[in-house]
Symmetry: C2
Subunit: 369 residues, 2 copies
Amino acid sequence: MKSRVEKVFANLPAKPDVVLLANSVDPHIDLSFFYLFDVPSGLFEGSVAVARPDGALDVTSSPLEAESAELAAKHDPHVAVHVVGRGETAQAVQKLIPASATVGLNFRELTHDWYVKLTEMLPNAKFVDASIGLQRARLTKEPAEIERIRAAAKIGSKVATEIPSMLKAGRSELELAAEMEYRMNQLGASGRSFATIVGFGPHSAEPHYQPDKTKLRPGDSIVCDFGAWHRRYACDITRSFHFGPRDPEMKAVHDCVEAAQNAALTALRPGVPGKEVHAAAQAVIDASRWKGRFTHGLGHSLGLAVHDGSGGLAPNVDDPLEVGMVVTVEPGIYLPGKGGVRIEDDVVVTKTGYEFLTTAPRGYLEVPA
Amino acid sequence: MKSRVEKVFANLPAKPDVVLLANSVDPHIDLSFFYLFDVPSGLFEGSVAVARPDGALDVTSSPLEAESAELAAKHDPHVAVHVVGRGETAQAVQKLIPASATVGLNFRELTHDWYVKLTEMLPNAKFVDASIGLQRARLTKEPAEIERIRAAAKIGSKVATEIPSMLKAGRSELELAAEMEYRMNQLGASGRSFATIVGFGPHSAEPHYQPDKTKLRPGDSIVCDFGAWHRRYACDITRSFHFGPRDPEMKAVHDCVEAAQNAALTALRPGVPGKEVHAAAQAVIDASRWKGRFTHGLGHSLGLAVHDGSGGLAPNVDDPLEVGMVVTVEPGIYLPGKGGVRIEDDVVVTKTGYEFLTTAPRGYLEVPA
C-alpha cells in the first residue's frame, strides 16, 4: 500500500518538489497535518509538515508537544520530528526546503498570513496549490481510517438509540445536548465533532439551529444532529423524533424523508456522480406535497473534518463516487414555524454499493409524553 | 461608545475603503466575523462580512442560517443580511464592493484559497492586511464582552472547585474529562472551549497532554486545564491537585508556581509590556531549584478565541497591557517522568491592576486517596 504522502503526490497532476503544510493558531489548524502525521495527542499550533515524493515527512513541533510527536514518529520510519523553539520556524523551513524549490501548499487550509510569511522565508521558491492532491487522497479512506470513523459512528449510534429514554417534558434543548455529549464521552469519544444540534418544535425546522433553554413540550417534533470524534475522525448522525400525541402530518413527513434516504442509498455506488444521489432523494421529496422543503445538500464527505473536502452528495458535485469514500446521507423536510425531520447516516462506498457505519434505528419514533 | 466596526477602522493605520471577512469551511471560520456580527447561533460557513468606515456592516448568510442571521440583525440597525444561495457569493461580493476599492482582509484568519478567489472576484481591487486592526479592536474588551467571559469563567470555576469530589482511584483521565465537560454544559456552557486536558502522574508534566484511559492512582499529581464557551466567548482555567499521600517535592513545586503567579499578578497593570509580566513569574521559578522547568509563555489573550491574538504575557510581547484586555496567567513547572503543576487564571486588566474572572481556590489541594 502507498504511504499517505505518496498518495498525495500521486493525486497531484503537476508534482511539486515538496508539499508543505503549516498550522496557525487554533482553530486555524490544517487537518491534513494529521492525515500525514498520525499523532494521537496534541494541537500543533505553528507546526509545519514537509512531505517529499519518496514518502519522507518532516514535522516541526514546539517543545510543548515534543514528547507526543516523538512517540508517534517512532511508529513510522518515514517521519522525522524537529523540535523548534519560539521564533525558530523560519530557520527550520529554510533548512528543510531547497531555496528554489517548487512548494505545494494546501491553499484551502493555509492562512493567507502564513502564505505571505512563506514567500518571505523562501523568496526564490515557487508556490503552487496542492490542495487538490490532499483532498483527493483524503477523500478515499484506507481501512484504518474507516475503522476510526466506524468507531466514532458506533458511539454516535449508541447515543442516538438512547435518546428516546432521555426525553422528558420540561427538559431543555441544552440539557438534552449536554446529556448526549456526556454519554458519547463516556463511551470513549474524545469530544463532540461539532456543536450538537437539538431543536424542539419549530426549532427543528432550522437545519443549523443551536440549542437554547427551550423546554420540551408534548406535540413537539425533535431533531438531534450530532457526532463524536474518535482518534481525530468524526461521525455525524441525525435522528428525528416526535414527542407525545401523533401528528399525522409530521408522521407523513418522516415517511417521506425515509423514502428519500432509501432512494438515495439505492442510487449510491461507485461511478455515480454525487449530484445524482442528491437528485434521487430530491425527486422523492419534490414529488410529495413538500416540494421545495428540502433546502440543503444531501450529504458531505466525512473524515478528519466533519465537512471533509468538496466531495459529497450535493447538486454541484460532478465527481463520481469511489470505493472508500465516506459520506453522510441526510435528506430533510422543514416546515417553518412547525417542525422538521432529518435522517442522517454515514456510509462508506463499497464495490457493490455502500455499507452503513451508523447503525441506529431509522424508523419513525413517537415517544410518549 | 464606538461601534465595533468603527473600532476596527480606528485601529487601522491606513484606512481601506472596506474591511472584508470571509469564512471557509469549519474549522476555518474567521472568529472576527462574530466580533462584528453578534449572532448567537449558526456556523456561517462560506459567509462574508463587509464593514465600512461609517459603521455599516453587510453580511451574507446561506438560506440555512438566514433565520438566525435576520433575527440578530434586528438588534443592530447597522447590519444588513443578504441571503445568498449556493454559487451566488461572487455576485454578492461584487455588488457590495466597488470594483477598484481598497479592501482590508484579515490575513491571519482568511484561507489563502479565499484570497485567490477574491483576487478573481475583484480583479481591480487592492487588497491590504487589516488583521492588525481587527486584532487590536478585539484585544481590549467592551464591558459586554467581559461579562460573557466572566460568565464562562464562573462556569469553569464552579467545575474546578468540584474536581476534588470527582477524584477516585481507578477513574480514568477520559472519564474525569467527560464529567467536567458535562458539568460545564449543565451549568449553561455551549461546550468546551478547547480539548480538556486531564493528566495523571507523569502525564501532568506534559503541558499539551490529551487524556487517555490512564487510571488515577494514589500518589499521582493531577493537572486539569479546561474551559467553557458562553455566548461565543471562552474561559480557560487550570488547577493542579495531588491525590493521596503528600509528596513533599510536589507540594514545594506547587508553592513555587503559586508564588510565580502572585509575582506576575503583582506586576500586571496597564502600561506594562506583556514580557515583563512573564519575566516576573519566570524569575521566581528560575530562582528555585526548578530553574528552566517553566517551558511555555505565561499567558495569552482570551476572548472569541482561546488564543485570542498576539497579545498576552509571553517573552516576545513588547506591547503594553491596556485596560480591558483579558489574559490568562498560567505559570507551571514540569518534571518529566514525575509530574507537573500549573495554575491558570483569567484576569481583566483594570485601571489599577487587574481583576480575577476565574474564582476557584488556588491553594495546594491534597485529595485523600
